[in-house]
Protein backbone atom coordinates (compact mmCIF):
# COMPACT_ATOMS: atom_id res chain seq x y z
CA UNK A 1 0.00 0.00 0.00
CA UNK A 2 2.88 2.35 0.74
CA UNK A 3 4.91 3.04 -2.40
CA UNK A 4 7.30 0.32 -1.23
CA UNK A 5 8.63 -0.70 -4.63
CA UNK A 6 9.61 2.89 -5.29
CA UNK A 7 11.47 3.29 -1.99
CA UNK A 8 14.93 3.00 -3.48
CA UNK A 9 14.12 5.46 -6.22
CA UNK A 10 12.60 7.93 -3.72
CA UNK A 11 15.47 7.50 -1.29
CA UNK A 12 17.97 8.39 -3.99
CA UNK A 13 15.88 11.27 -5.34
CA UNK A 14 15.47 12.84 -1.91
CA UNK A 15 19.17 12.40 -1.15
CA UNK A 16 20.36 13.75 -4.47
CA UNK A 17 20.38 17.53 -3.85
CA UNK A 18 22.46 17.08 -0.73
CA UNK A 19 24.76 14.52 -2.31
CA UNK A 20 25.60 16.84 -5.19
CA UNK A 21 26.54 19.68 -2.83
CA UNK A 22 28.31 17.30 -0.43
CA UNK A 23 30.45 15.73 -3.15
CA UNK A 24 31.18 19.02 -4.88
CA UNK A 25 32.13 21.09 -1.81
CA UNK A 26 33.25 18.52 0.77
CA UNK A 27 34.39 15.20 -0.69
CA UNK A 28 36.04 16.61 -3.80
CA UNK A 29 38.01 19.40 -2.07
CA UNK A 30 39.05 16.97 0.64
CA UNK A 31 40.61 14.66 -1.98
CA UNK A 32 41.85 17.54 -4.14
CA UNK A 33 43.57 19.08 -1.11
CA UNK A 34 45.38 15.83 -0.41
CA UNK A 35 46.41 15.64 -4.08
CA UNK A 36 47.88 19.15 -4.23
CA UNK A 37 49.72 18.62 -0.96
CA UNK A 38 52.16 16.54 -3.04
CA UNK A 39 52.83 19.43 -5.42
CA UNK A 40 54.75 22.65 -5.43
CA UNK A 41 52.32 25.22 -6.76
CA UNK A 42 51.92 29.00 -6.57
CA UNK A 43 48.65 29.17 -8.60
CA UNK A 44 50.25 30.97 -11.56
CA UNK A 45 52.81 28.35 -12.55
CA UNK A 46 52.04 24.75 -13.45
CA UNK A 47 52.09 22.45 -10.42
CA UNK A 48 55.27 20.42 -10.01
CA UNK A 49 55.02 17.01 -8.37
CA UNK A 50 57.39 16.86 -5.42
CA UNK A 51 56.18 13.77 -3.59
CA UNK A 52 56.45 14.08 0.17
CA UNK A 53 58.65 17.18 0.00
CA UNK A 54 56.01 19.45 1.56
CA UNK A 55 55.60 17.11 4.49
CA UNK A 56 59.37 16.84 4.94
CA UNK A 57 59.70 20.64 4.83
CA UNK A 58 57.45 20.93 7.84
CA UNK A 59 59.97 19.09 10.00
CA UNK A 60 62.54 21.81 9.38
CA UNK A 61 60.13 24.74 9.55
CA UNK A 62 60.51 26.67 12.80
CA UNK A 63 57.39 28.72 12.07
CA UNK A 64 55.36 25.56 11.64
CA UNK A 65 56.49 24.24 15.02
CA UNK A 66 55.90 27.49 16.85
CA UNK A 67 52.45 27.94 15.26
CA UNK A 68 51.47 24.38 16.16
CA UNK A 69 52.75 24.99 19.68
CA UNK A 70 50.65 28.16 20.02
CA UNK A 71 47.55 26.32 18.86
CA UNK A 72 48.23 23.56 21.42
CA UNK A 73 48.83 26.22 24.06
CA UNK A 74 45.45 27.76 23.24
CA UNK A 75 43.74 24.34 23.42
CA UNK A 76 45.37 23.49 26.75
CA UNK A 77 44.49 26.85 28.34
CA UNK A 78 40.95 27.32 27.02
CA UNK A 79 39.52 23.80 27.23
CA UNK A 80 39.60 23.25 31.03
CA UNK A 81 38.70 26.85 31.86
CA UNK A 82 35.75 26.96 29.47
CA UNK A 83 34.44 23.62 30.77
CA UNK A 84 34.65 24.69 34.41
CA UNK A 85 33.28 28.15 33.68
CA UNK A 86 30.39 26.76 31.62
CA UNK A 87 29.58 24.26 34.36
CA UNK A 88 29.75 26.87 37.12
CA UNK A 89 27.44 29.15 35.13
CA UNK A 90 25.01 26.28 34.61
CA UNK A 91 24.98 25.64 38.37
CA UNK A 92 24.15 29.27 39.04
CA UNK A 93 21.50 29.37 36.34
CA UNK A 94 19.76 26.18 37.51
CA UNK A 95 20.03 27.26 41.15
CA UNK A 96 17.44 28.88 43.36
CA UNK A 97 18.35 32.52 42.77
CA UNK A 98 15.42 34.67 41.66
CA UNK A 99 17.89 36.26 39.24
CA UNK A 100 18.65 32.93 37.53
CA UNK A 101 16.75 33.66 34.29
CA UNK A 102 18.45 37.06 33.99
CA UNK A 103 21.85 35.49 34.69
CA UNK A 104 21.24 32.91 31.97
CA UNK A 105 20.61 35.63 29.39
CA UNK A 106 23.54 37.73 30.57
CA UNK A 107 25.99 34.80 30.43
CA UNK A 108 24.79 33.88 26.96
CA UNK A 109 24.76 37.39 25.47
CA UNK A 110 28.45 37.64 24.48
CA UNK A 111 28.02 34.54 22.33
CA UNK A 112 25.50 36.27 20.06
CA UNK A 113 28.12 38.82 19.02
CA UNK A 114 30.32 37.85 16.12
CA UNK A 115 33.92 36.97 16.77
CA UNK A 116 35.25 40.08 15.01
CA UNK A 117 33.14 42.39 17.16
CA UNK A 118 34.26 40.61 20.34
CA UNK A 119 37.89 40.69 19.27
CA UNK A 120 37.87 44.39 18.30
CA UNK A 121 36.09 45.24 21.55
CA UNK A 122 38.61 43.36 23.70
CA UNK A 123 41.52 44.77 21.72
CA UNK A 124 40.16 48.18 22.75
CA UNK A 125 39.61 47.21 26.40
CA UNK A 126 43.18 45.93 26.49
CA UNK A 127 44.73 48.77 24.51
CA UNK A 128 47.95 49.73 26.22
CA UNK A 129 47.70 53.51 26.56
CA UNK A 130 43.99 54.30 26.65
CA UNK A 131 42.24 50.97 27.21
CA UNK A 132 40.10 50.80 30.31
CA UNK A 133 41.99 47.89 31.89
CA UNK A 134 45.18 49.91 32.06
CA UNK A 135 43.34 53.13 32.94
CA UNK A 136 41.90 51.40 36.01
CA UNK A 137 45.25 49.84 36.89
CA UNK A 138 46.87 53.29 36.67
CA UNK A 139 44.14 54.87 38.80
CA UNK A 140 44.89 52.24 41.43
CA UNK A 141 48.54 53.17 41.23
CA UNK A 142 49.75 50.19 39.20
CA UNK A 143 51.82 50.04 36.05
CA UNK A 144 50.56 49.65 32.49
CA UNK A 145 50.32 46.07 31.29
CA UNK A 146 51.08 45.26 27.64
CA UNK A 147 48.08 42.96 27.38
CA UNK A 148 48.47 42.43 23.66
CA UNK A 149 51.94 43.81 23.09
CA UNK A 150 53.91 41.83 25.66
CA UNK A 151 54.88 38.29 24.61
CA UNK A 152 54.28 37.06 28.14
CA UNK A 153 50.63 38.11 28.23
CA UNK A 154 49.38 38.24 24.64
CA UNK A 155 48.17 34.63 24.39
CA UNK A 156 46.52 34.83 27.80
CA UNK A 157 44.74 38.02 26.79
CA UNK A 158 43.34 36.36 23.68
CA UNK A 159 42.21 33.45 25.86
CA UNK A 160 40.53 35.84 28.30
CA UNK A 161 38.46 37.39 25.51
CA UNK A 162 37.58 33.88 24.33
CA UNK A 163 36.38 32.89 27.83
CA UNK A 164 34.02 35.84 27.92
CA UNK A 165 32.81 35.16 24.41
CA UNK A 166 32.08 31.41 24.44
CA UNK A 167 31.59 30.26 28.04
CA UNK A 168 27.85 30.87 27.58
CA UNK A 169 27.71 28.23 24.85
CA UNK A 170 29.01 25.55 27.21
CA UNK A 171 26.63 26.85 29.87
CA UNK A 172 23.68 26.08 27.59
CA UNK A 173 24.87 22.50 27.11
CA UNK A 174 25.51 21.97 30.84
CA UNK A 175 22.20 23.56 31.78
CA UNK A 176 20.37 21.15 29.50
CA UNK A 177 22.32 18.28 31.09
CA UNK A 178 21.59 19.37 34.65
CA UNK A 179 17.89 19.87 33.92
CA UNK A 180 17.66 16.23 32.86
CA UNK A 181 18.60 15.04 36.35
CA UNK A 182 15.36 14.13 38.17
CA UNK A 183 14.53 16.47 41.07
CA UNK A 184 13.71 13.49 43.31
CA UNK A 185 17.38 12.53 43.42
CA UNK A 186 18.24 15.88 45.01
CA UNK A 187 15.22 15.82 47.31
CA UNK A 188 16.06 12.44 48.75
CA UNK A 189 19.70 13.47 49.15
CA UNK A 190 18.57 16.58 51.01
CA UNK A 191 16.37 14.49 53.30
CA UNK A 192 19.39 12.34 54.10
CA UNK A 193 21.17 15.52 55.17
CA UNK A 194 23.47 16.00 52.17
CA UNK A 195 25.03 19.46 51.90
CA UNK A 196 25.03 21.51 48.69
CA UNK A 197 28.64 20.56 48.09
CA UNK A 198 27.94 16.87 48.63
CA UNK A 199 24.99 16.74 46.28
CA UNK A 200 27.06 18.55 43.69
CA UNK A 201 30.02 16.16 43.85
CA UNK A 202 27.93 13.02 44.30
CA UNK A 203 24.92 13.75 42.12
CA UNK A 204 25.39 16.61 39.67
CA UNK A 205 28.95 15.99 38.50
CA UNK A 206 28.60 12.22 37.95
CA UNK A 207 25.17 12.54 36.31
CA UNK A 208 26.18 15.24 33.84
CA UNK A 209 29.23 13.21 32.78
CA UNK A 210 27.83 12.55 29.27
CA UNK A 211 27.36 16.30 28.77
CA UNK A 212 30.87 16.93 30.06
CA UNK A 213 32.28 14.47 27.55
CA UNK A 214 30.32 16.12 24.74
CA UNK A 215 31.43 19.60 25.82
CA UNK A 216 35.03 18.45 26.04
CA UNK A 217 35.01 16.98 22.54
CA UNK A 218 33.29 20.03 21.01
CA UNK A 219 35.56 22.43 22.90
CA UNK A 220 38.80 20.73 21.88
CA UNK A 221 37.75 20.79 18.23
CA UNK A 222 36.68 24.44 18.46
CA UNK A 223 39.92 25.43 20.20
CA UNK A 224 42.07 23.64 17.62
CA UNK A 225 40.33 25.75 14.97
CA UNK A 226 41.25 29.05 16.66
CA UNK A 227 42.14 31.79 14.21
CA UNK A 228 39.86 34.82 14.13
CA UNK A 229 40.40 36.19 17.65
CA UNK A 230 44.15 35.98 17.28
CA UNK A 231 44.12 37.47 13.79
CA UNK A 232 42.04 40.46 14.87
CA UNK A 233 43.50 41.05 18.35
CA UNK A 234 47.22 40.57 17.81
CA UNK A 235 47.67 39.68 14.15
CA UNK A 236 49.81 36.81 15.44
CA UNK A 237 52.22 39.15 17.19
CA UNK A 238 54.10 40.36 19.10
CA UNK A 239 57.00 38.76 17.22
CA UNK A 240 54.85 35.82 16.13
CA UNK A 241 54.26 34.82 19.75
CA UNK A 242 50.55 34.20 19.19
CA UNK A 243 50.58 32.99 15.58
CA UNK A 244 48.39 29.87 15.50
CA UNK A 245 48.52 27.09 12.93
CA UNK A 246 45.47 28.14 10.93
CA UNK A 247 46.92 31.62 10.61
CA UNK A 248 50.16 30.14 9.28
CA UNK A 249 48.17 27.97 6.86
CA UNK A 250 46.28 31.09 5.74
CA UNK A 251 49.44 33.16 5.30
CA UNK A 252 51.28 30.39 3.47
CA UNK A 253 48.40 29.85 1.09
CA UNK A 254 47.05 33.33 0.53
CA UNK A 255 49.96 35.67 1.12
CA UNK A 256 52.91 33.58 -0.06
CA UNK A 257 50.79 31.47 -2.44
CA UNK A 258 52.47 28.21 -1.51
CA UNK A 259 49.30 26.21 -2.12
CA UNK A 260 50.84 22.74 -1.85
CA UNK A 261 52.62 23.47 1.41
CA UNK A 262 49.53 25.14 2.85
CA UNK A 263 47.37 22.13 1.93
CA UNK A 264 49.92 19.75 3.43
CA UNK A 265 49.83 21.64 6.74
CA UNK A 266 46.01 21.57 6.69
CA UNK A 267 46.20 17.81 6.45
CA UNK A 268 48.62 17.53 9.33
CA UNK A 269 46.28 19.67 11.45
CA UNK A 270 43.35 17.48 10.38
CA UNK A 271 45.29 14.33 11.28
CA UNK A 272 46.18 15.73 14.71
CA UNK A 273 42.57 16.70 15.40
CA UNK A 274 41.33 13.31 14.24
CA UNK A 275 43.86 11.53 16.46
CA UNK A 276 42.92 13.66 19.48
CA UNK A 277 39.20 13.02 18.85
CA UNK A 278 39.75 9.27 18.55
CA UNK A 279 41.87 9.16 21.70
CA UNK A 280 39.21 11.12 23.61
CA UNK A 281 36.51 8.84 22.27
CA UNK A 282 38.36 5.66 23.23
CA UNK A 283 39.51 6.86 26.67
CA UNK A 284 36.22 8.50 27.67
CA UNK A 285 34.18 5.68 26.14
CA UNK A 286 36.08 3.20 28.31
CA UNK A 287 35.51 5.26 31.44
CA UNK A 288 31.81 5.30 30.83
CA UNK A 289 31.61 1.51 30.74
CA UNK A 290 33.31 1.10 34.13
Amino acid sequence: MIPGNKDTRDGILFSLPFLIVFILFMVYPLLFGLYISFFKWNILSTPVFTGLQNYQDMFHDQKFYSSLLHTLEFVVITTPVLLVLGFAMALVVTGKSPLAPLLETVFFIPYIFSMTVVATLWAWLMQKDFGIFNQVIMLLGGRKVGWLTDEKYAMWSVCLATFWWTAGFNMVLFTAGIKQIPKEVYESAEMDGASYWQSMTHITIPLVAPTTVLCLILQVIASFNVFGQVYVMTGGGPAGSTRVLIQYIYETGFQYFRMGYSAAMSYVLFAIMLAVSIIQYVVLGKNKEV
Binding site: M1, P29, V92, L103, V106, I109, I112, L121, F270
Partner: protein, 280 residues
Protein backbone atom coordinates in the same frame (compact mmCIF):
# COMPACT_ATOMS: atom_id res chain seq x y z
CA UNK B 1 21.70 26.48 67.03
CA UNK B 2 18.20 27.72 67.62
CA UNK B 3 15.80 28.14 64.79
CA UNK B 4 15.62 31.92 64.55
CA UNK B 5 19.37 32.56 64.41
CA UNK B 6 19.65 29.84 61.77
CA UNK B 7 16.99 31.58 59.74
CA UNK B 8 18.71 34.91 60.20
CA UNK B 9 22.04 33.51 58.98
CA UNK B 10 20.28 31.97 56.02
CA UNK B 11 18.77 35.32 55.19
CA UNK B 12 22.07 37.24 55.34
CA UNK B 13 23.57 34.49 53.19
CA UNK B 14 20.96 34.86 50.54
CA UNK B 15 21.29 38.64 50.54
CA UNK B 16 25.04 38.23 50.07
CA UNK B 17 24.41 35.78 47.25
CA UNK B 18 22.04 38.21 45.50
CA UNK B 19 24.65 40.97 45.76
CA UNK B 20 27.16 38.56 44.26
CA UNK B 21 24.70 37.77 41.44
CA UNK B 22 24.31 41.44 40.63
CA UNK B 23 28.06 41.97 40.73
CA UNK B 24 28.59 39.11 38.30
CA UNK B 25 25.94 40.51 35.97
CA UNK B 26 27.60 43.93 35.99
CA UNK B 27 31.06 42.50 35.33
CA UNK B 28 29.83 40.30 32.51
CA UNK B 29 27.94 43.12 30.82
CA UNK B 30 30.67 45.68 31.35
CA UNK B 31 32.54 45.17 28.04
CA UNK B 32 29.30 45.80 26.14
CA UNK B 33 28.51 48.88 28.19
CA UNK B 34 32.01 50.13 27.46
CA UNK B 35 31.56 49.47 23.75
CA UNK B 36 28.49 51.68 23.73
CA UNK B 37 29.96 54.42 25.94
CA UNK B 38 33.08 54.63 23.78
CA UNK B 39 30.97 54.84 20.64
CA UNK B 40 29.12 57.96 21.84
CA UNK B 41 32.26 59.81 22.91
CA UNK B 42 34.37 62.12 20.82
CA UNK B 43 37.72 60.63 19.87
CA UNK B 44 39.58 63.33 21.81
CA UNK B 45 37.75 62.23 24.98
CA UNK B 46 38.64 58.61 24.30
CA UNK B 47 42.33 58.91 23.53
CA UNK B 48 43.23 60.98 26.55
CA UNK B 49 45.11 60.76 29.80
CA UNK B 50 42.18 62.45 31.55
CA UNK B 51 40.14 59.33 31.82
CA UNK B 52 36.42 59.72 32.36
CA UNK B 53 33.85 56.99 32.55
CA UNK B 54 30.75 58.80 31.34
CA UNK B 55 30.82 60.68 28.05
CA UNK B 56 31.09 64.40 28.69
CA UNK B 57 29.68 65.33 25.31
CA UNK B 58 27.51 62.38 24.21
CA UNK B 59 27.26 62.38 20.42
CA UNK B 60 26.04 60.24 17.49
CA UNK B 61 28.85 61.67 15.38
CA UNK B 62 30.69 58.34 15.13
CA UNK B 63 27.57 56.59 13.92
CA UNK B 64 26.97 59.10 11.16
CA UNK B 65 30.62 58.93 10.24
CA UNK B 66 30.58 55.11 10.14
CA UNK B 67 27.65 55.22 7.71
CA UNK B 68 29.13 57.92 5.49
CA UNK B 69 32.84 57.15 5.44
CA UNK B 70 32.80 53.34 5.34
CA UNK B 71 30.94 50.69 3.38
CA UNK B 72 29.20 49.43 6.51
CA UNK B 73 25.73 49.42 4.92
CA UNK B 74 27.05 47.38 2.00
CA UNK B 75 28.72 44.97 4.42
CA UNK B 76 25.48 44.53 6.34
CA UNK B 77 23.58 43.96 3.12
CA UNK B 78 26.19 41.44 1.93
CA UNK B 79 26.03 39.53 5.20
CA UNK B 80 22.26 39.52 5.09
CA UNK B 81 22.31 38.27 1.52
CA UNK B 82 24.89 35.55 2.23
CA UNK B 83 23.12 34.40 5.41
CA UNK B 84 19.65 34.38 3.83
CA UNK B 85 20.86 32.42 0.78
CA UNK B 86 22.76 29.97 2.96
CA UNK B 87 19.70 29.48 5.14
CA UNK B 88 17.28 28.87 2.25
CA UNK B 89 19.64 26.57 0.34
CA UNK B 90 20.47 24.66 3.52
CA UNK B 91 16.81 23.74 4.00
CA UNK B 92 16.22 22.94 0.31
CA UNK B 93 19.26 20.68 0.22
CA UNK B 94 19.24 19.16 3.71
CA UNK B 95 15.56 18.64 4.60
CA UNK B 96 14.80 16.08 1.84
CA UNK B 97 17.74 13.84 2.77
CA UNK B 98 16.82 14.13 6.45
CA UNK B 99 13.36 12.85 5.48
CA UNK B 100 14.92 10.04 3.43
CA UNK B 101 17.07 9.02 6.42
CA UNK B 102 14.12 9.19 8.81
CA UNK B 103 11.36 7.50 6.83
CA UNK B 104 12.39 5.87 3.55
CA UNK B 105 13.84 2.37 3.50
CA UNK B 106 16.36 2.22 0.68
CA UNK B 107 19.54 0.37 -0.20
CA UNK B 108 22.75 1.96 0.98
CA UNK B 109 20.99 4.16 3.48
CA UNK B 110 23.22 3.24 6.41
CA UNK B 111 26.43 3.68 4.46
CA UNK B 112 25.20 7.03 3.22
CA UNK B 113 24.17 8.12 6.70
CA UNK B 114 27.57 7.38 8.19
CA UNK B 115 29.28 9.10 5.30
CA UNK B 116 27.27 12.26 6.04
CA UNK B 117 28.02 12.01 9.76
CA UNK B 118 31.74 11.57 8.98
CA UNK B 119 31.42 14.91 7.18
CA UNK B 120 30.87 16.49 10.60
CA UNK B 121 34.40 15.47 11.54
CA UNK B 122 36.03 17.44 8.72
CA UNK B 123 37.02 20.90 9.94
CA UNK B 124 36.17 23.51 7.34
CA UNK B 125 39.65 25.01 7.66
CA UNK B 126 41.15 21.91 6.04
CA UNK B 127 39.21 22.67 2.89
CA UNK B 128 40.12 26.34 2.38
CA UNK B 129 43.03 25.88 -0.04
CA UNK B 130 41.37 23.33 -2.35
CA UNK B 131 38.05 25.23 -2.16
CA UNK B 132 39.77 28.46 -3.11
CA UNK B 133 41.44 26.81 -6.11
CA UNK B 134 38.12 25.22 -7.06
CA UNK B 135 36.22 28.53 -6.98
CA UNK B 136 39.11 30.20 -8.74
CA UNK B 137 38.71 27.77 -11.63
CA UNK B 138 34.95 28.47 -11.75
CA UNK B 139 35.74 32.20 -11.91
CA UNK B 140 33.73 32.80 -8.74
CA UNK B 141 36.42 34.41 -6.60
CA UNK B 142 35.31 37.77 -5.21
CA UNK B 143 31.61 36.91 -5.47
CA UNK B 144 29.06 36.42 -2.72
CA UNK B 145 28.03 33.14 -4.37
CA UNK B 146 31.39 31.74 -3.36
CA UNK B 147 30.75 32.78 0.23
CA UNK B 148 27.46 30.83 0.24
CA UNK B 149 28.00 27.53 -1.56
CA UNK B 150 30.50 25.66 0.65
CA UNK B 151 28.34 26.33 3.72
CA UNK B 152 25.16 24.70 2.41
CA UNK B 153 25.93 21.07 3.22
CA UNK B 154 25.27 21.10 6.98
CA UNK B 155 25.46 17.57 8.47
CA UNK B 156 24.45 18.64 11.99
CA UNK B 157 21.29 20.16 10.52
CA UNK B 158 20.47 16.89 8.78
CA UNK B 159 20.95 15.08 12.05
CA UNK B 160 18.63 17.42 13.96
CA UNK B 161 15.87 17.18 11.35
CA UNK B 162 16.22 13.42 10.99
CA UNK B 163 15.77 12.89 14.74
CA UNK B 164 12.68 15.04 14.66
CA UNK B 165 11.12 13.57 11.48
CA UNK B 166 11.56 10.08 12.92
CA UNK B 167 9.14 10.89 15.73
CA UNK B 168 6.36 11.87 13.34
CA UNK B 169 3.96 8.87 13.44
CA UNK B 170 4.09 6.62 10.33
CA UNK B 171 0.29 6.42 10.44
CA UNK B 172 -0.01 10.01 9.21
CA UNK B 173 2.15 9.25 6.19
CA UNK B 174 0.30 6.01 5.49
CA UNK B 175 -3.06 7.73 5.57
CA UNK B 176 -1.82 10.19 2.97
CA UNK B 177 -0.43 7.41 0.78
CA UNK B 178 -3.77 5.57 0.87
CA UNK B 179 -5.38 8.75 -0.37
CA UNK B 180 -3.02 8.51 -3.33
CA UNK B 181 -0.47 11.11 -2.30
CA UNK B 182 3.03 10.92 -3.77
CA UNK B 183 6.25 11.00 -1.74
CA UNK B 184 6.72 14.63 -2.60
CA UNK B 185 3.20 15.56 -1.49
CA UNK B 186 3.69 13.74 1.79
CA UNK B 187 7.02 15.45 2.35
CA UNK B 188 5.61 18.83 1.44
CA UNK B 189 2.25 18.63 3.25
CA UNK B 190 2.82 16.22 6.14
CA UNK B 191 6.48 16.15 7.11
CA UNK B 192 7.46 19.78 6.61
CA UNK B 193 4.53 21.28 8.56
CA UNK B 194 4.89 18.76 11.40
CA UNK B 195 8.67 19.12 11.49
CA UNK B 196 8.51 22.89 11.70
CA UNK B 197 10.22 23.09 15.09
CA UNK B 198 13.35 21.26 13.91
CA UNK B 199 13.41 23.19 10.64
CA UNK B 200 13.27 26.47 12.55
CA UNK B 201 16.22 25.31 14.64
CA UNK B 202 18.26 24.44 11.56
CA UNK B 203 17.34 27.71 9.86
CA UNK B 204 18.50 29.67 12.89
CA UNK B 205 21.73 27.72 13.35
CA UNK B 206 22.68 27.98 9.68
CA UNK B 207 21.86 31.68 9.63
CA UNK B 208 24.06 32.33 12.67
CA UNK B 209 26.89 30.21 11.26
CA UNK B 210 26.79 32.07 7.96
CA UNK B 211 26.57 35.47 9.63
CA UNK B 212 29.56 34.76 11.88
CA UNK B 213 31.70 33.11 9.21
CA UNK B 214 35.05 34.87 8.98
CA UNK B 215 37.93 32.87 7.49
CA UNK B 216 36.17 31.84 4.27
CA UNK B 217 34.79 35.27 3.26
CA UNK B 218 38.16 36.77 4.24
CA UNK B 219 39.83 34.51 1.70
CA UNK B 220 37.31 34.48 -1.08
CA UNK B 221 36.31 38.16 -1.19
CA UNK B 222 38.84 40.86 -2.02
CA UNK B 223 36.91 44.06 -2.64
CA UNK B 224 36.19 46.25 0.35
CA UNK B 225 32.68 46.94 -0.93
CA UNK B 226 31.90 43.21 -1.21
CA UNK B 227 33.07 42.28 2.31
CA UNK B 228 30.69 40.64 4.73
CA UNK B 229 30.22 42.51 8.01
CA UNK B 230 32.63 40.28 9.97
CA UNK B 231 35.47 40.89 7.53
CA UNK B 232 34.57 44.56 7.23
CA UNK B 233 34.70 45.11 10.99
CA UNK B 234 37.99 43.22 11.26
CA UNK B 235 39.50 45.51 8.63
CA UNK B 236 38.03 48.67 10.13
CA UNK B 237 41.29 49.49 11.84
CA UNK B 238 43.22 49.17 8.62
CA UNK B 239 40.99 51.47 6.58
CA UNK B 240 40.03 54.02 9.23
CA UNK B 241 43.29 54.44 11.08
CA UNK B 242 42.91 53.74 14.75
CA UNK B 243 39.92 55.78 15.81
CA UNK B 244 38.55 53.82 18.69
CA UNK B 245 35.28 55.68 19.07
CA UNK B 246 34.54 55.15 15.37
CA UNK B 247 35.55 51.48 15.53
CA UNK B 248 33.22 50.91 18.48
CA UNK B 249 30.37 52.66 16.68
CA UNK B 250 31.01 50.37 13.72
CA UNK B 251 31.01 47.34 16.02
CA UNK B 252 27.70 48.49 17.54
CA UNK B 253 26.07 48.95 14.12
CA UNK B 254 27.44 45.57 13.01
CA UNK B 255 25.90 43.88 16.05
CA UNK B 256 22.47 45.44 15.84
CA UNK B 257 20.97 42.82 13.48
CA UNK B 258 22.27 40.04 15.72
CA UNK B 259 20.84 41.66 18.83
CA UNK B 260 17.43 41.98 17.17
CA UNK B 261 17.68 38.40 15.90
CA UNK B 262 18.51 37.23 19.41
CA UNK B 263 15.65 39.15 21.02
CA UNK B 264 13.17 37.56 18.61
CA UNK B 265 14.53 34.00 18.63
CA UNK B 266 16.13 33.77 22.09
CA UNK B 267 14.30 30.59 23.03
CA UNK B 268 14.88 28.83 19.72
CA UNK B 269 18.57 29.75 19.64
CA UNK B 270 19.23 28.37 23.11
CA UNK B 271 17.11 25.28 22.46
CA UNK B 272 18.86 24.75 19.15
CA UNK B 273 22.27 24.72 20.80
CA UNK B 274 21.09 22.41 23.56
CA UNK B 275 19.48 20.09 20.99
CA UNK B 276 22.43 19.89 18.62
CA UNK B 277 24.69 19.47 21.61
CA UNK B 278 22.78 16.77 23.44
CA UNK B 279 21.92 14.71 20.42
CA UNK B 280 25.00 15.41 18.33
Amino acid sequence: MNNSSYRKRNKTNSVLLRILDILVILIWLFPLVWLFLTSIKLEQDVVTKHFSFWPEHPTWYNYTKAFTSTYILNWLYNSLFVSACTMVLTIIVDAPIAYAFAKIRFKGKNVLFWMVMAGMMVPFQVLIVPLYLQFNSYGLINTLTAAVLPRVAFPIGIFIMKQFFQDIPDALEEAAFIDGASRWTVFRHVILPLGKASITTVIILSFINAWNDFLWPLIVINDNIKYTITVGVANFQGTQGTQYSLIMAGAAIASLPQIIFFLIFRKQIIEGIAMSGIKG
